[in-house]
Symmetry: C2
Subunit: 432 residues, 2 copies
């Protein structure tokens, strides 16, 4: 069995195959598994990468039948039953595609160049460096107009990521940076959250949407619903109504689409991709016409009552367990069963002391919602060590209003070919 992707789908599937009579190869382009719900805390300088990510090898170490490979999957050869990577081919008997999703810039190159995504660890680190750098630059800036633009942070997209990040960044500014920088006028920095629809958090109950919006405003975030973004340029946004918003930093959380592997996979299987480029699957989560290929998580479009299941971690994990069970069934010549989703509820946090949660008929907001959010996330952070460290960091920040990890630091850009020992030679590194 080959599993492509070591996110929540791929990792859960590998774990669910622990006692199955199969040899599993797990392939990912990163050597870590990322706990995505806390990624925004990396981008707001609250957590360190090692606190939200774990090396895949240490996670699969207890699984005797799982081997990990770091590599970029280029395409799937369905005919020859091989996964083609930049490092070589890997043949499979059963394939589980769990390659996930990525930020969707809707093909707009200027948007992609001028805005920052918040889906992956390097993006989160880049954003953190950038936000901190804006404040350091503003300390030198004498032109008020320029300084205001430097200190305007626009988050586009009122989904959970946008809401969480806008709240976190506003707290970083008002609770931490304002104290760090004695010369800073606390009224100057602005955090603006833009949403095209009429309200934030469309997936939630209207009462919770209103509570989230109130909580954000209380934290100093300017919430603008019903506002389209017509274009993003270096230094400003063009709004749908024709207005302009000067802003040095734009975070784009307004779109997600399936992995770049989706179009090729769809074409090879001759299926039409669904919304967001996701691959339609049969009731057993298989690629139509290919009974040995499972597609799960964000990459898969599994419809219930005519609507695809949302791109959520519980969906990916439940589908992963189902795919693993189906593979065991197929090996024993049993027919795989149909997948059924059990909705565990949804939640989003709005910084310190506030969150909204919707679980079955339960609706929580404010501090009770936040306590629930805290509990659920602490229980689910992957390992004991992370849990302890995350707890220390959170407690530190909560009690002292301090962000311990606000360092501006980046590894030198890596030359992807440097470990291939090619004779081309590397570019001399720039002097700092």
């Amino acid at each position: 069995v080959v599993i492509v992707g070591a996110g929540f789908g791929g990792l859960t599937c590998a774990r669910a195959l622990k006692r199955a009579p199969v040899q599993v190869t797990l392939i990912d382009r990163n050597n870590y598994h990322l706990f995505t719900p806390l990624l925004y805390q990396v981008a707001s300088a609250l957590l360190d990468p090692a606190e939200v990510a774990r090396p895949v090898r240490s996670l699969v170490r207890p699984l005797a039948n799982v081997d990990f490979r770091l590599g970029n999957v280029e395409r799937i050869d369905l005919e020859a039953r091989r996964v083609v990577t930049d490092r070589g081919d890997v043949p499979y008997d059963y394939l589980v595609m769990a390659a996930g999703s990525q930020t969707n810039y809707f093909g707009n190159r200027s948007l992609e160049a001028a805005a920052h995504g918040l889906k992956e660890l390097p993006e989160a680190l880049t954003l953190r460096n950038l936000v901190l750098r804006r404040f350091e630059s503003s300390a030198w800036e004498t032109d008020e107009e320029t300084r205001k633009r430097q200190l305007t942070f626009v988050v586009v997209g009122g989904g959970p990521t946008g809401v969480e990040y806008a709240g976190a960044i506003s707290e970083l500014i008002r609770l931490v940076l304002a104290r760090d920088m004695p010369g800073l006028d606390p009224e100057e920095p602005r955090v603006v959250l833009l949403e095209a629809a009429d309200s934030l958090l469309g997936a939630f109950d209207p009462r919770l949407r209103a509570a989230a919006e109130r909580a954000l405003r209380r934290k100093g975030v300017e919430v603008r619903c019903g506002t389209q973004v017509a274009g993003v340029r270096e230094g400003w946004l063009e709004l749908g109504g024709g207005g302009r918003l000067p802003a040095a930093t734009v975070v784009w959380t307004a779109g997600v689409r399936a992995s770049d592997l989706a179009p090729g996979l769809a074409a090879a299987a001759e299926v039409v991709p669904g919304r967001q480029g996701r691959i339609p699957v049969d009731t057993a989560l298989r690629l139509p016409g290919h009974d040995d290929v499972f597609v799960i998580g964000d990459l898969a479009s599994y419809e219930v009552d005519g609507q695809a299941l949302p791109m959520l971690i519980p969906v990916a994990m439940q589908q992963a367990r189902h795919a693993a069970r189906s593979i065991r069934d197929l090996i024993q010549d049993r027919r795989p069963r149909a997948f059924r989703y059990r909705d565990p509820g949804i939640m989003a946090t709005i910084g310190r002391n506030a969150a909204v949660a919707q679980i079955g008929r339960l609706r929580l907001s404010g501090f009770p919602g936040w306590l629930l959010w805290l509990g659920v996330h602490l229980v689910n952070v992957v390992s004991f060590r992370s849990r302890l460290l995350v707890l220390i960091n959170w407690a530190w920040e909560y009690l002292l209003f301090d962000r311990p990890v606000r360092l501006i630091v980046a590894a030198r850009p890596e030359d992807p070919d440097s470990d291939r020992l090619s004779d081309r030679g590397r570019q001399p590194r720039k002097k700092r």
Copy 2:
């Protein structure tokens, strides 16, 4: 008072001026203070950046008269008494130059391109990513020759940094990666430490040098003393005797020189730089002919018995306190006193359970040396939080033989101009 550099010298000086009737501006090109003695632990995936670095702003927060500025100092205008930075000029009455030192490639560009330094945080992160990537690549490699080269790590320079890093990387491989990668032949990876002199750790007592070498060999490091490096190319080293050593990864710790600000400063003051490009100073640590400019730490060459004091943290810190005292003296029209160095001893660690220490007449090696090293470093790690986290990480690794932070992750390269809001526009970011 303007202080250039927020390392041990600059930071200590700012702290020593806390109660002086002066306004201090501290300038650094990074927004963090780095605890350099533990940098090699970042490069060997044992500690995270936030555990060995602290934001300068949070360190100077208790100092009411200190303002921090993030910027690159380009030169010092001694005539006009201004520090010229890429962000603007800063005038001074008194200047403390504490710009430190950097890796010395002796002007050899091919060496600089092919080898990796270990002096700064981005270098340590780059090295960590690289070492982990080598192992991941080797898992795909079928050619034995290539695989052996991928798994050969050469550290050039038998000083404390080289000894510490060679020991740490050998432990990373033998204790952690060997368990993470079931397919890895534990005999294949090699760690080679090259030193041109006849023994390692030239500054230490001969008995301790021998103890260090034995400890390294026990940990699986190949120690080759009396071996010159004639050249480093992509994939191999040329040795002095004419031999060749195939190795994908070369770490260069064999040379250190003063900051790039030194030549300009020496020329402006019309003094001849000393060994390693360091600036000669008078007995009060001042630039000759410029009574308002102090030069301290690695940047300064202060001779005792005809020999410059070594580039060590205690030297920088004692000189910083002395410079601060002299500034207070000058303000009160008193003559500054001559600087005298009190040697607190030196130490170096060779991984788990082994270190060498030389304090006054005391000589410690092996486990007692290591306990002393541990104590001294824990006491000196800058803040309580780091101390606690570092202790947790160390305990974790010590008890479980696990490296918790071995993630391969880099922030996207930053465009240094991107926060200036120029109209040039950024390069579109590459798709991953």
